[in-house]
Symmetry: C2
Subunit: 306 residues, 2 copies
């Protein structure tokens, strides 16, 4: 049995690679265990920070299989099934469901830049209909600054109305507090529809607005601190805890470097494992000079890392 709706702190798990840029499965499993041991309620395999779209469906399925075979509880896993082709989205969702995972996180098909809400509805409906299992839980993924495709509150409302239970929530990675508020209205109209923010800097705002938690790239780096805020969001000092949490994010991403390369470089520094020094093209890993700049920037944020 999987819970009816999801809440908590989730990491969109970074994907380590060997020299051939294949997924380094032992390191991946070790990292998944570390994330769960260090504060994450669960994991999103193959979100944006995982470089999901840079891997084939076969690679994504094999990685999920390996993680489950290693004993990581499937019910703590949400699997990114975002692909340009809805048939791939169906295959990944079926595989996640058959593997016992909690649900899937679904990007809109992201090749065409100008698509209608009607077209997006049909794409998501195609996946829900073809999977055809009421146990499916879909978390829609709003990250317009990367995917080029935004999800409107109207679209989410329609999905929640026509696919109750299956349309289980949304991840808002826009970083826009106004948009998050619009999504809170959707959740208010559809109890059980979970709103996740995609940046831990909006965690407090999201929880105060009735949201369910966060799925944040920085949860790969400081899962414990994000979990602390999640647990203590009603404490008197929550605002200062949020501000302190933002410090590392602002320092790391203030460098202007690619956020995925940054999270991997910080993980490489923490673990010393070479598997974290690689990204798949078209991304490019940080140069040694950039790594130095990053570590200098982050050093100033050390109070948070204490």
């Amino acid at each position: 049995m999987t819970p009816l709706s999801l809440s908590g702190v989730f990491a969109p798990v970074l994907t380590p690679m060997d020299e051939d840029l294949n997924i380094d499965l032992p390191l991946y499993i070790e990292f998944c265990n570390w994330l769960l041991d260090t504060g994450c309620h669960g994991l999103v395999l193959f979100g944006t920070n995982s470089e999901a779209t840079s891997f084939s469906t076969a690679e994504r399925m094999a990685a999920l299989d390996a993680v489950i075979e290693a004993g990581i509880p499937a019910e703590k896993l949400v699997v990114g099934n975002g692909t340009a082709a809805i048939t791939d989205g169906v295959d990944l969702a079926r595989h996640a469901l058959a593997s016992g995972c909690h649900g899937v996180m679904t990007l809109p098909p992201f090749y065409y830049p100008k698509v209608s809400d009607e077209g997006l509805f049909r794409a998501f409906a195609y996946i829900a209909d073809r999977v055809g299992d009421p146990a499916l839980k879909m978390y829609f993924y709003h990250i317009p600054q990367i995917s080029g495709i935004g999800l409107s509150a109207d679209l989410l409302d329609r999905l929640a109305s026509e696919y109750p239970g299956v349309a289980a929530g949304v991840k808002d990675s826009s970083g826009d507090p106004e948009n998050l508020r619009r999504f809170h209205q959707v959740a208010a109209a559809h109890p059980g529809f979970s709103i996740f923010c995609g940046t831990e800097s909006l965690l407090l705002a999201n929880l105060r607005g009735g949201g369910a938690g966060c799925i944040s790239g920085m949860a790969n780096v400081i899962p414990d601190q994000i979990r602390d805020l999640y647990e203590n969001w009603q404490a008197a000092d929550a605002d200062s805890a949020q501000a302190q949490l933002n410090w590392l994010r602002n320092a790391a991403l203030g460098t202007g470097y690619n956020a995925i390369a940054v999270a991997k470089a910080l993980t490489a520094a923490r673990t010393g494992a070479a598997g974290w020094t690689r990204v798949r093209p078209p991304l490019v890993a940080l140069t040694p000079a950039q790594q130095q700049m990053l570590h200098a920037a982050v050093a100033e944020a050390e109070p948070v890392l204490a």
Copy 2:
């Protein structure tokens, strides 16, 4: 033996679908034959007009197999292997090569919006290196208004220098005559590097600049007329032939409807086959009212269709 470089008029073949939105293979094969019989030198299976990215790699491979089994000459085929994941791009290229196709047309990985020329070079190089066969011919695909990722002349120059023969050309679908001229400079520096325009409205400009031909969505609709201009581009009346050719394009696309849905609607009207009335989400087919508007607009262009 495949020719060293490609030239002529190519259709990025529209993909007909059955009621379940699977590829209607008999209609597809019939259409491929019609295109070759009616003016196309060759076909690009799975370009943008084919809704390439809306199909899984398995669906794309199965369609190619069916076309070749039906007796369509593999050497007249270029296969779009553009995918977000470079591993899929490798698999599609290997399959095309093993099938005897002339080459592949390769989109840049299109999920991330801001990627460097270095990252794009590594993505294309990954495919070329992993395929590892000097018989591979890659035509890079510049369609920034859709993919979100432009290919610079510098990048093409680097690819042509480091992968001579394998980096075989580019399709420029930007519709920008200035950009086309920059690509002509690349071809001038790398003899045999083929420049295709992605709109037949620049066919004359492309041929006059040393380009190789066009791969145009409208070649699905009026292959004969585009072929006529290609054959007679040095004739005295070539400019007026080009202007006449543009008439239908401007009428059809002047409606503002999605270009793929338009090309399919025109094909549906020509053939009466239901397989042309469908597109995969997130695209949406024209409504009956929109079809009526389209046919009214195109009727004014009838002199061209004579």
